[in-house]
């Protein structure tokens, strides 16, 4: 029975292959035409909303452009304008500080938490569910919620908490630039850490138990096991998440836009791009700033690509 089926299949195979050999070119043309028909929708969307805007971004950065669509070549004037704008350096300082805090707080805390959670043998879904809840909130709603928590007078939740333990109230967003940025990072970490914690947990579960066993036999204590087994074993995912986090936080927009406005100099780079376009109707300078941001991000993304290459090789 099986042999009969097999021979029949081979015969059919040969018959099917026959016209291919005869009309090779026509068949190939048809296959290519079908393939590009399948690809057409995606290619069109990529072309209009990704590829063309990328080219246009660079072109625009050398032009004067406004919403009405008037354009005029202005050479490097947009770049000069952006570099001489005091807001430019202030925006980079805010973005840099945000990224730095996000790395210290938003990167270390989820990892430490994941290491501890991985040891917990009870109520695992409780922890996973809760840490992921904020991720599922509409981010603007969550940002306004935190803005309300940060209320400077004693009606705010955080100040009420300080009062409850006998501490004086704090002007969270209004007192200093550093504290305001830190407040934004705390919110950002709260809403985003669910995803990172789950990714770390998944990679921690891939560590072979024998490694801990061997380390323990060699007399390594708890902290040394973390440092010499856990960290090296998750090194790759750790460095990939670090780069993703840096590239992500460099583009921060929502937090300063919703929570602080431009108060206390917390305008970020992307927020400044937005302001050039929609407050000053100067799309060219916004594009020039975008090109500069892109160059910085490409340096990081290049690092990411290099790392994931290495990940595939290992």
């Amino acid at each position: 029975m099986a042999t009969i089926n097999l021979t029949r299949a081979v015969a059919r195979d040969l018959r099917a292959a026959e016209p291919a050999r005869r009309g090779g070119l026509r068949r190939r043309l048809r296959r290519n035409a079908t393939a590009y028909l399948f690809l057409a929708g995606a290619i069109l969307c990529f072309a209009v909303f990704s590829w063309y805007p990328m080219i246009r971004e660079v072109v625009m950065s050398f032009q004067y452009t406004n919403f009405a669509g008037e354009t005029k070549w202005v050479g490097l004037r947009n770049y000069q304008r952006v570099l001489h704008d005091p807001d430019f350096w202030s925006a980079w300082r805010t973005t840099g500080l945000f990224t730095l805090f996000a790395v210290v707080v938003g990167y270390a805390v989820p990892f430490a938490l994941a290491v501890v959670l991985n040891e917990i043998r009870h109520a695992r879904s409780y922890f996973r569910l809760l840490v992921y809840l904020p991720v599922m909130m509409p981010p603007v709603a969550a940002a306004f919620l935190w803005k309300w928590f940060y209320t400077p007078d004693d009606t705010g939740l955080f100040n009420a908490a300080l009062h409850a333990v006998g501490l004086p109230s704090v002007q969270w967003l209004q007192s200093s630039h550093t504290l305001a940025v830190l407040c934004l990072v705390l919110f950002s970490t709260w809403i985003n850490m669910g995803g990172t914690v789950l990714v770390y947990l998944a990679s921690l579960q891939g560590i072979p138990g024998e490694l801990y066993e061997a380390a323990e036999l060699d007399g390594a204590g708890l902290l040394r096991r973390v440092w010499h087994v856990t960290v090296p074993q998750t090194r790759l995912i750790l460095s990939m998440m670090l780069l993703l986090q840096i590239v992500g936080t460099m583009q921060v927009f929502l937090e300063p836009y919703v929570i602080t406005g431009s108060a206390n100099d917390t305008t970020s780079v992307v927020y400044l791009i937005y302001q050039y376009a929609f407050n000053y109707n100067n799309y060219g300078s916004g594009a020039a700033l975008g090109v500069l941001l892109l160059l910085v991000l490409i340096a990081f993304a290049g690092g990411y690509l290099w790392l994931s290459r290495r990940a595939e090789q290992e």
Binding site: T34, L39, A142, V226, Q251, G286
Partner: protein, 296 residues
């Protein structure tokens, strides 16, 4: 739950935990974490919901009270009416599921063509798509916005139409990458067998490839829906009409002049759809998230 003790050993050995000191330490850490998680992730939500139940006097009282004294749902009714939340939620749902449909049709078709039909310059097209992963959408947001306002050749404006959300969502290289990788793992012999049976490429895609690809289609679908619900900068630019806005943009636009307690009630209502969605699909969402991140 408690019965499913992990068989593989982790940082701390089972034997160590069984000792009296180990057990005491374990349960201390456990209950501290339970309390900490409730405080960090549940309490803010409780504060939001209960804040929405407070009167204007009570919400600005010092110190704030833990419980609303005379809870009433009028704030919620006012918020629903004044911020037009029904419309915002309906808009966002329409955009999310439309984006999902467009991504499923165009991205699946494209990934299938690149993986199985392999046309000339296919690798070039794939490379050009993947290259966009290096350039975040926030950086090219201005030229993309001007393009959406005045499409090349046709000069149509997509602003304040669902197309402004749907079509750009198709240009998602990460989807193409995930789908193509999955399709690559489907044996070619299977497709050849279908071809021998006289199935064309579309028929093969529909009756052979898609039924095998349910897991990856689930991941892509969840990313599509959640992506639209979480996006802010792009809808802020392209949806300027209040009648067309998403939850994120609408809340941002309409909060001026709304009393604090009503606004907090509005935030609570706005959070309900995604949180309910999450509670329904939590397994798929979490599995998809880790799968996507580990492979990406």
């Amino acid at each position: 739950m408690s019965a499913s003790v992990t068989p593989t050993r982790t940082l701390i050995s089972q034997a160590q935990l069984a000792r009296p000191f180990g057990r005491a330490a374990y349960w201390t850490v456990f209950w501290v974490l339970v309390a900490l998680f409730a405080l960090a992730f549940l309490f803010p939500l409780y504060w939001m919901v209960s804040g929405g139940l407070k009167t204007p006097q009570q919400i600005i009282q010092t110190p704030p009270s833990l419980l609303p004294t005379s809870p009433s749902v009028t704030n919620y009714a006012t918020a629903w009416r004044d911020l037009d939340l029904g419309r915002l939620i309906l808009n966002t749902t329409l955009y999310a599921f439309g984006a999902l449909a467009f991504q499923l049709v165009f991205d699946v078709a494209a990934a299938y063509a690149l993986s199985k039909l392999r046309p000339v310059f296919g690798n070039g097209v794939l490379f050009a798509m993947l290259a966009t992963l290096m350039i975040p959408t926030t950086v090219i947001v201005l030229p993309a916005y001007l393009t959406a306002n005045d499409l090349p050749f046709t000069h149509w404006s997509l602003l304040n139409t669902p197309w402004a959300i749907w079509l750009p969502s198709v240009a998602n290289a990460f989807n193409i990458f995930l789908l193509k990788r999955f399709f690559d793992s489907i044996p070619t012999e299977l497709l050849a067998a279908a071809a021998i049976d006289g199935a064309g490429p579309l028929r093969t895609l529909w009756s052979v490839v898609l039924p095998m690809s349910r897991p990856i289609l689930g991941v892509v679908s969840i990313f599509a829906v959640v992506g639209v619900w979480k996006d802010f900068l792009w809808p802020l630019l392209v949806l300027t009409d209040t009648s067309a806005q998403t939850v994120n943009v609408g809340i941002n636009q309409l909060h001026v002049g709304v009393p604090e307690n009503v606004f907090v009630a509005a935030l609570a209502i706005a959070s309900v759809p995604t949180i309910v969605f999450f509670l329904f699909f939590q397994r798929n969402i979490m599995a998809g998230l880790t799968a996507g991140a580990m492979k990406g």
